[in-house]
Symmetry: C2
Subunit: 392 residues, 2 copies
Amino acid sequence: MLVERAPETFRQKQNIDVRIRHEVVGLDLSRQRVQVEQAENGKSSWESFDQLLIATGASPLCPDVPGSHASGIHGVNTLDSGIRIRQVIEQKKPKRALIVGGGYIGLEMAEALVRQGLSVALIERSSEVMNTLDTDMGALVSDALRRIGVELFVEQSLQAFEISGGEVSAVVTDKQNIPADMVILGMGARPNSDLAAKAGIPLGEKGSIRVNEKMQTDVEKIWAAGDCAQTFHLVSRRPFYMPLGTVANKQGRVAGINLGGGNAAFPGVVGTAASRICDLEVARTGLMEKEIKQLGIEYASATIKSRTRAGYYPNSGGITVKLLAEKASGRLLGGQIVGAEGSAKRIDIIAISLHAGFGVDQMINLDLSYAPPFSIPWDPVVIAARNLVKLL
Amino acid sequence: MLVERAPETFRQKQNIDVRIRHEVVGLDLSRQRVQVEQAENGKSSWESFDQLLIATGASPLCPDVPGSHASGIHGVNTLDSGIRIRQVIEQKKPKRALIVGGGYIGLEMAEALVRQGLSVALIERSSEVMNTLDTDMGALVSDALRRIGVELFVEQSLQAFEISGGEVSAVVTDKQNIPADMVILGMGARPNSDLAAKAGIPLGEKGSIRVNEKMQTDVEKIWAAGDCAQTFHLVSRRPFYMPLGTVANKQGRVAGINLGGGNAAFPGVVGTAASRICDLEVARTGLMEKEIKQLGIEYASATIKSRTRAGYYPNSGGITVKLLAEKASGRLLGGQIVGAEGSAKRIDIIAISLHAGFGVDQMINLDLSYAPPFSIPWDPVVIAARNLVKLL
């Protein structure tokens, strides 16, 4: 979480009474009030509301295994957690860091810790890191991590932490013990929905607060937005939980407009995410193979290797694009990109095509921008579409 | 024009009999044959055909003004013309170059000649360079050119060239004389359609060869594709001439498939183009204000200034995005982007939205990729859409 504005700014410029270090510990729906506890003195009081927006965010998933409360085990979800980890590195000078989980947070932390001079290992349940990609694409990311010296322990799951003198000293998986002076949790996030659930507000996917496209919960006058709230997947046409800043921003805007008496809707996501890991840009959108299979859809896929820019141009780099489409209709279902600088933002081509409900054949003639500093004449995404059409 | 394959490669790998230095000088539709002249010996012969594809490309527009055949005046459309210009610079060491026309070619040449150490001036008929942009956006490009020392003479039109000893010595506009040792023509391209026209094949926009979406001309068994052929504008729903490599590639593919007995179509373009000028990336798509007015459409526009990447991230730069939409329906009509590295490829977001026929309101919730190395949480294009919606 990044803090863009100070409480004073909210108060002075926007007439919003922001109270930090105040925690809502109870929600009384029938009397329309919340119980607020002040961190400073532990005092609690009730505050009434006409409309309530729940924007409690998410917390890093913390494994319920022996030793998980040892010192030296860090989640990463706020500026403070980043600052704390840096302090620990400076003060305790850990040598061996172990990352639990090969998602965005885990991989970005792995790279950052390698740069800090630590020896870094990572455990991941799947066969490749970045399991929001299909394994063939994830393998490209695993390779990049190994190239910078990260030791990967794949297809292993966390069983326990070993503790020595109150500090974590090793991670126990179902296959081995891995010594570690510092552990970073990158196991994903869970919505902070306990308060809502206790008050009787219905939850949805992965325990997130169920909302409609206006950001209303199932309870009148109660709204929810951001990492605590559910969203909708426009490709699978199913409820979906996606705690990312882009989604939170859009949900917040829609909730704000509607709370203020306006009329806005957030129809949902297509599942777009991007990240930079080492020298690779990684991006994905839509459904991946596993999800398509779960929906029982027959599909085809095409993967191509191409260049980000004209080959004779400086900084031309490799790019791998994978597209997935429904076999019967030719409808685009998703795509993944891994490549050099200039690769990731191309996922937007695929994302918008998903929003538009394009068939892969419609992607071939998209009038995309070309000049040697930016692309090759046929954008790599379109080359993948051309190949995929032949397989449908 | 870039040469990707040698004639031998065509012959050996693809069984295509490529004959270079052979010019088709006559086309006899009734007897299905072409008259071919060999450059080497001037010999001419007739070759018959079953199907004929005309892919004669375009030539730089050459002004029909006094002195236009003087030495030292260069068009730029082939590798050879680039090589020749470099030779002239090395051998004759010109000091003052003058560019006629502020389009892509003119601007790229202006920058290249500044880098070669020449003093560079440019004349342009409009009030700003890059007249495929609205003037407010073009002004940003004019500024960038002036920053690298290019002297701009705007709102002036070419009247004549002055010659001294057979060599160009000055350019005469309707307002002044500008001395020059070297002149580069960047006045656009005209289709090489004379051969087709003489044979009675109907022409269309700007003298390009009229084709349908299968790349058939109005004459049976005669096809045309590339810079000599017309295309269709999917936003204005009118015939359009757009001699760019992206269009030529797509038309060539479709013509080839159909000639080979297959079935493909190229529905048309939305008008996308991108270029890098100095430290600026410049891109446009759809209709510009002038075109919208010509169609008699009431429109609104929004222009925003934002950042290409998260402000705290290295290489975050400025970006200006302009969007145009139909007032009555909210339908997106076009967009233009000028900004730092990472700006231009964002035009694809607007281009695909045009293909999809999106209203500007549909662009607000597009699930575009975000991570600090690639964007800000709301893509600048979406910020422009948010502002534009309020004006509709």
